[in-house]
């Protein structure tokens, strides 16, 4: 079952350490947001393969926005 990974905070996409097809473990950072000078990782809720990254570096995301999809 694909699972959407949502931002838990409003911020700007600072880094995208993963790409489509990458295997990730539970708790691995899928993207890193920057908010108020802090880097805040958005982590994979479980192990899986990254099906899609829905954001780009520099993009502003709101709390609750989907940032990636996990297979």
């Amino acid at each position: 079952m694909p699972e959407e990974i949502k931002a838990h905070i409003t911020g700007v996409v600072f880094q995208i350490p993963t790409k489509k097809g990458d295997k990730v473990g539970a708790g691995d950072p899928v993207i890193v947001l920057e908010s108020m000078k802090m880097e805040i990782p958005v982590e994979a809720p479980r192990a899986g393969v990254v099906r899609e990254i829905k954001v780009q570096e520099g993009q502003t995301v709101q709390e609750g926005d989907t940032v990636a999809v996990l297979d």
Binding site: T10, G11, V12, M36, K37, T60
Partner: protein, 446 residues
């Protein structure tokens, strides 16, 4: 100097504008598109838009700032803290543009910004430094040798920047390779410079710093110490002066070392020498901040003078207004920083709109705020909303006043550190002044 461009935002921009007014100088504010309605913009005599909200396209853009200064006919620039305040290239660019940089010479900013060079210079000046590598280390084996000599834990730090950013603690030799790689990566990402160095790691130290001021005629004085041990992730939350329960010999050693260090590098204007103090009263140079600091008001409240006005006088080439023997400490003062962060979620940032703001007032209370009811707290900047400063006849008196002030303070619309601060000031270790830098991260105030 006639007209000062304030290259900052928020409470410190307002504080500097106030000082300029006191000194009879005209002021120019700068702002990003996100800050067009910000109080600091209205406070100034003139305001110039820099660019889009991201700091690197506005408050961190040297060219746009110099251009704004030229356009507004400013002849001096005050950098405040954060942003470009410790960027020697900015100091140099301001000077090269024929304007006065209200701060130290660019060379002092550069030397103290290079943390291994700062260590070297301070050691040469007789200032105690933490045992560590004399310069950047090329591979983990150099750290291993140090570990064998002084013992673990060690800490690997970025050479290109301070403030605790990117530090990695190492508990045993086997962890060194991983820690070295992680620290190098963090240093590169935070400071665009992968160089790291290594020092002995102190368990539960205090952070005590000394405010220094120097003029261009060779006079250096200190304005006593500030205790800033209550921090989370190396960001200060509560500061006070005097430092409670500081042995007299340590206090004397700290202030003498601070003055000697500043003199050795030909320092001019306001600076802060930061130290770690161990349980036995031993102290070690941490870094020098070559700018006015967030917590400068606690020093003003116990020593008297307006430090930002003095910065303006010194930048204009005047002599220091005080001799060392004129500067005493009277009573006690404490400052709390109210951030838009959620203390229940590990201080996660909380951007949004302030729907209601009530600030304390009264005898012995001072408020330095960059926001008001209706302010939008943007994701692009530091989450500091305002600072409260309480003064008292002694420490207990100042603490009591601050506890009452926190009860009278209301922030709605964004989460703030207020509940954390209330808890912290009730804590028995805070009440008796038994502080160390790890108490927040170790969960003392949960």
């Amino acid at each position: 100097m006639r007209r000062v461009l304030v290259a900052n935002r928020g409470e410190i921009a307002r504080r500097i504008i106030r000082a300029c007014r006191k000194a009879g100088l005209a002021t120019v504010a700068v702002y990003s598109e996100a800050d067009k309605d910000a109080p600091h913009v209205r406070d100034a005599d003139q305001a110039i838009m820099l660019g889009p909200p991201p700091a690197r396209e506005s408050y961190l853009d040297v060219e746009r700032l110099i251009h704004a200064a030229r356009r507004s006919d400013a002849d001096a620039v005050h950098p405040g803290y954060g942003f470009l305040s410790e960027n020697w290239r900015f100091a140099e660019a301001v000077t090269r543009a024929g304007m006065t940089f209200i701060g130290p010479p660019a060379e002092a900013v550069r030397a103290m910004g290079d943390k291994t060079e700062a260590r070297r210079l301070m050691t040469a000046a007789g200032v105690p430094t933490m045992p560590g590598s004399p310069g950047p280390i090329a591979d983990p084996s150099e750290a291993e040798a140090l570990g064998a000599r002084v013992g673990f834990p060690l800490v690997i730090k970025a050479a290109g920047g301070g403030g605790g950013i990117g530090m990695v603690r190492v508990d045993k030799a086997a962890d060194l390779a991983t820690a070295f790689a992680a620290a190098t990566r963090r240093a590169q990402s935070a400071f665009a410079n992968p160089a790291v160095y290594v020092e002995r790691y102190l368990e539960r130290p205090r952070h005590v710093e000394v405010q220094v001021f120097a003029d261009a005629h060779g006079t250096v004085v200190h304005l006593h110490e500030r205790e800033c041990s209550i921090q989370r992730r190396h960001q200060k939350l509560i500061e006070e002066s005097p430092a409670p329960n500081l042995p007299a010999a340590t206090k004397r050693g700290l202030t003498e070392a601070a003055v000697a260090g500043a003199r050795a590098i030909g320092y001019v204007n306001a600076g802060t020498m930061e130290f770690l103090v161990d349980a036995a009263g031993g102290f070690y140079f941490l870094e020098m901040n070559t700018r006015i600091q967030v917590e400068h008001p606690v020093t003003e409240e116990v020593t008297g003078p307006d430090l930002v006005v003095e910065q303006l006088h010194l930048a204009a080439g005047e002599r220091l207004s005080w001799r060392q023997e004129d500067i005493g400490q009277r009573g006690a003062a404490i400052e709390v920083r109210v951030y838009a962060e959620d203390p229940d979620k590990n201080f996660l940032p909380s951007p949004g709109t302030i729907t209601r703001l009530e600030l304390p007032a009264g005898d012995g209370m001072r408020v330095e705020s960059g926001v008001e009811s209706g302010s939008v707290i943007s994701v692009h900047y530091d989450p500091l909303l305002f600072k409260l400063i309480a003064r008292g006849a002694d420490r207990d008196d100042a603490l009591a006043r601050m506890r009452a002030a926190l009860t009278a303070t209301v922030v709605e619309g964004v989460k703030s550190t207020l509940p954390f601060l209330k808890k912290a000031l009730e804590h028995p270790d805070v009440r008796r002044g038994a502080l160390h830098t790890q108490m927040v991260d170790q969960g003392a105030f949960r």
